[in-house]
């Protein structure tokens, strides 16, 4: 069809109007331009009012060819189908970014076998960030822009300068047609007919014996408004890749610790985390008496701090200012200037924060002094009564290496141990070495007393002992929060809202036009709409009734595809 139209070079209509290549119906009078089309009795193709689309050129050059590629709806449909297929590939196995801490090069093979390895090697573990997926999105965006421009500009021109008197064939080959004799003066009849039309909301233009009535033209812009919305939507999705616009990370916050949120100037403190569980009675029957533990509520009392000075200087402590407080629960995140913190997970393993051991005389049990030992950041020197304690070594996770030397096995404070050099009254001048395990379980496991005896050649005269639980400080739990920033989201909503407006425009109104001309006492009426043909026939029937012409709605139907 397109080829045929382009091949048809003589585009001058008999009304004298010169049409661009690709025009189906004369821009001026509406006469079909193709000779064969002219002989046909079929209902006219009214798409874009028979105007040539911009991409229809006689001799397309290189730029035109690119333009034409993107202007094709067929290509657009292919691209959308490809994008959908690509998206489906991304759902076969979980995407890399859904995991917190995995090594994808081994994870997929271990979990899903050979298929997992192939999936990983093909790069499908990050489908939605791959170059080809983004390229498809960009091409759909290009297609949206170019398809719209290619059609909306000619359509706009066609609709803004419509000829009132149309060619006879244009009228008789519409889908809604009426032909019949009228009585009286033609011009007078046209004038009178305008009255009921105006009442129905039509804008009426007359030209002697001819008339054009039109309403709801704006609904023709609906699809293009949808496209504008989609373009905004798409641009917003692509903009998510820009630095600073989107962040999504999971961070552990032990109770009572102010922790920096990476790549932001914010710090967050988990003041207190609580979790409530369902009792046996509250649980649904199938879960009861199975030893299942179902959490009912997670709650993190959080304080958000903003760094005001010395933020990037590692030699100084950052100056923080509390800016927000919120009880973070599932579905009730903290929200501060677009930074959102969602409850994600928790860990009820207590973490030892500090102990306050007492220095005790081993023989008499007399307390000689007390000091506070911070597990994570201990000081070098402490004093307890008349004694001075120098911290010589610190092990986070005490163990022995193959040579029997003490080492720390992991960086986590699982089994903290401290080696002190104690000096003071009744001790040798070089001091006394003393290893201290704050956790009772480690004390026994690693035989603290035996080590100390060995180091001092006998039972040491002093020992460190924690007197009562009030001298032990635990972080009772750790909460895991999902910290998100998404500055693009408002644009997604705006895009979606514009799409909605476009849909409403296109669906709830129809562009209706009625042309009529009177030649020698014979009225010829043709009408066109883009949908709801039943409605327009009914309207015309009512208008003709007002003009004392009783015409059955159904008899107006001239065949053709009904939309």
């Amino acid at each position: 069809m397109l080829q045929k139209v382009i091949a048809f070079k003589n585009t001058k209509c008999e009304c004298g109007h010169q049409n661009p290549v690709g025009t189906v119906l004369c821009e001026n009078c509406g006469r079909p331009l193709d000779e064969e089309e002219l002989k046909s009795k079929e209902v006219l193709e009214m798409r874009y009012d028979g105007m040539a689309r911009r991409s229809q050129r006689a001799n397309p050059n290189f730029i035109d060819r690119i333009w034409n590629f993107f202007a094709s709806v067929k290509i657009a449909v292919y691209m959308i189908v490809l994008t959908l297929l690509g998206s489906m590939l991304g759902t076969i196995f979980p995407q890399e970014n859904t995991f917190l801490n995995i090594d994808p090069s081994t994870y997929y093979k271990e979990t899903y076998g050979t298929w997992g390895l192939i999936y990983y090697k093909l790069g499908l573990t990050h489908t939605y960030e791959s170059w080809w997926f983004i390229l498809l999105l960009v091409m759909i965006g290009a297609s949206l822009v170019i398809c719209s421009l290619d059609r909306v500009l000619p359509l706009y021109r066609a609709l803004s300068k419509q000829q009132i008197l149309k060619h006879m064939q244009f009228l008789t080959r519409q889908r809604v047609v009426y032909q019949g004799k009228i009585e009286g003066d033609a011009e007078e009849w046209v004038k009178q007919a305008a009255v009921p039309m105006k009442k129905k909301g039509y804008r009426v233009h007359t030209d002697g014996n001819a008339l054009l009535a039109e309403k709801y033209r704006f609904s023709r812009w609906g699809p293009y408004v949808i496209h504008i919305g989609l373009i905004i939507f798409l641009l917003a999705v692509l903009a998510r890749g820009l630095p600073g616009l989107k962040m999504d990370q999971h961070i552990a916050f032990p109770e009572g610790e102010i922790k920096h949120i990476p790549n932001t100037s914010y710090y967050l403190k988990n003041e207190k985390f609580t979790v409530e569980f369902y009792t046996e009675e509250d649980m649904p029957g199938e879960f009861r008496n199975q030893g299942k533990v179902l959490p009912k509520l997670f709650n993190t009392e959080a304080t958000l701090y903003h760094c005001t000075a010395d933020c990037d200087d590692p030699t100084k402590e950052p100056k923080l200012e509390a800016v927000a407080k919120h009880n973070i629960q599932v579905n009730d995140p903290m929200d501060y200037k677009g930074l959102k913190a969602y409850q994600f997970d928790y860990d009820l393993t207590p973490i030892l924060r500090s102990v306050s051991p007492s220095l005790v005389d081993a023989k008499t049990g007399k307390e000689l002094g007390k000091f506070k030992l911070d597990i994570k950041n201990p000081q070098r020197n402490y004093t307890a009564g008349d004694y001075s304690l120098e911290l010589k070594e610190k092990y986070n996770d005490f163990g022995l290496d193959e040579n029997g030397r003490p080492v720390t096995k992991t960086p986590n404070p699982n089994a903290p141990a401290f080696l002190f050099l104690i000096k003071g009254p009744n001790l040798p001048a070089s001091g006394m070495q003393y290893i201290y395990f704050p956790k009772q379980i480690d004390k026994e496991r690693f035989q603290q007393d035996a080590i100390n005896e060995k180091m001092n050649g006998g039972t040491p005269p002093l020992m460190l002992d924690v007197k009562g639980m009030e001298n032990v400080d635990f972080a009772m739990s750790t909460t895991y929060l999902n910290i998100r920033v998404d500055k693009v989201m408002p644009f997604i909503w705006i895009g979606a809202a514009i799409v909605m407006v476009g849909l409403v425009l296109g669906f709830y109104w129809q562009h209706r036009r009625i042309w009529l001309r009177i030649d020698d006492g014979v009225l010829t009426l043709g009408a066109h709409t883009n949908k709801n043909w039943f409605g327009i026939r009914r309207e015309i029937s009512a208008i003709l009734k007002k003009m004392n012409l009783d015409v059955d709605e159904k008899s107006l139907d001239n065949g053709g595809k009904q939309a």
Binding site: R54, H126, I134, G141, V145, P243, P314, D401, K409
Partner: protein, 175 residues
């Protein structure tokens, strides 16, 4: 609208699509994962050194850098320390600097360790593991060989011995 105007509009729109699209693809592909690879620019860091001063990658600009990520609890890291120290002594007058970044341990643990193994090249602390994240480190030790122009020449995972280290540094200085 004239013909030439139409053509101009076409070209402008196509160009805009190429620019926006190209930018989107490049930022997405290079930004995803964010792990630096061999040939890419070494990410900057700003960390506290054991000397009590802040150090950044930029201050070593113009020098070939051997960037070693380690922990006192990691056996292979401990074992390769003497090799690193030896190469530091050998190359430090030839525009090479060895920098050790400790992964998340406290100052005292690192200080004690450095003293016990007699290491005197700059050692930096990364308590929040910021540089660990920006360099995408998973196993320790990992060593980055960064050339004078700030590009990553080679990434070595696992323990280094004296000979390979020497060969790598030689290559690095030449590049």
């Amino acid at each position: 609208m004239g013909k030439s105007k139409k053509k101009l509009l076409q070209i402008v729109i196509l160009l805009l699509i190429v620019i926006v699209g190209g930018y989107a693809i490049v930022t997405q592909v290079s930004g995803s994962g964010g792990k630096p690879t061999e040939g890419s620019k070494a990410p900057n860091f700003e960390l506290l050194g054991l000397d009590g001063k802040a150090h950044s990658l930029e201050e070593y600009k113009g020098k070939a850098i051997v960037l070693n990520f380690w922990g006192t609890w990691c056996g292979p890291c401990v074992k390769e320390m003497p090799a690193l120290q030896a190469q530091w002594e050998k190359w430090k007058d030839q525009g090479v600097v060895v920098v050790g970044i400790n992964a998340g341990e406290d100052k005292m643990a690192v200080e004690n360790f450095v003293k016990s193994v007699n290491v005197d090249f700059p050692v930096l602390l990364d308590p929040d593991k910021n540089s660990i994240a920006s360099y995408g480190i998973s196993p320790l030790p990992t060593t980055f060989f960064v050339s004078k122009d700030g590009k990553i020449n080679k990434i070595h995972l696992g323990q280094l011995d004296l000979a390979t280290l020497d060969k790598q540094i030689e290559e690095l200085v030449k590049s």
